[in-house]
Symmetry: C2
Subunit: 147 residues, 2 copies
DNA sequence: TTTGAAATCAACTATGT
DNA sequence: ACATAGTTGATTTCAAA
């Protein structure tokens, strides 16, 4: 799909705040609210916009720690783990990756005891590397037209 | 803030689809729409819900590659990079982390040439490790009450 | 429950092929 | 002449008081 300048602006705005009304967006880009609605609907239909999500502050919900955990699966252990990981509520995202490790997971945890217990669940499947998040340098930078 | 069962359900629903109306949510959990509105407003005020974001499919927008890139900064190069990275449109998220590396970045790229050019920008600041994302095992699993 | 605002739908208009 | 993208105004639905 062709994404023109106006659509890029709409995408940027909705990535910043999905609750902008069509009228507000229209005011910013110089279109009527039905025209904006039409453009957004098309972006949704084509799959450029795949959904609208509330962003939850994990610390406010009691998850004090966030971490990136990689797994280098033992021989024959990757498939079983791919099934198992779906049951882990702590895992926000899990990706297959190239390189020395097979998977990287973004996880939230209550505290260091929770982290320890979580790692214990993984070590039967492979080598585990854990990087605890200290701070956010950039968070949810909207995708835009670049270069 | 105390988050009861109903609020956890509301959070789960809004993380799946931020466009549920108060009435729809109310129907699912057996509350009136104003009651739901009041609960959501409190979750927002307290900061449990920090925003509502449109989710954009990066492949549909022309970014064929997604990767995790870590940086182990050279002596004295971390601070300069923390300033510089804010200018990089490819970087969706960037976190300070514990461990051998200082930073992990989630980036989107047009193609392997773009990736090469991006890495070239980083190598003056430190050691770079790149893991290209092959597939999503778990994507945007909502935070919930667990264990 | 009521009020105001916003989304939706219909009909019409302008522009470009 | 037809297709595409936009406006305007009426109706319905939603959210805020």
């Amino acid at each position: 799909m062709k994404i023109d300048e106006l659509n890029w602006t709409i995408l940027r705005l909705l990535q910043q705040n999905a609750r902008f009304t069509n009228a507000e967006i229209g005011r910013k880009i110089g279109l009527s609210s039905p025209a904006v609605a039409e453009r957004i609907k098309k972006l949704e239909d084509v799959g450029v916009i795949s959904g609208y999500k509330a962003e939850v502050n994990h610390i406010q919900t009691g998850y004090q720690l966030k971490a990136f955990v990689t797994l280098k699966a033992f021989m024959g252990k990757l498939k079983p783990f791919l099934d198992k990981v779906k049951e882990y509520k702590e895992v926000l995202n899990c990706y297959r990756i190239t390189g020395n490790e097979n998977l990287v997971m973004e996880v939230v945890l209550y505290d260091q005891f929770h982290l320890e217990e979580f790692i214990d669940r993984l070590i039967t499947y492979g080598e585990v590397r854990t990087s605890i998040v200290l701070s956010n340098v950039i968070e949810n930078n909207p995708i835009g037209k670049n270069r």
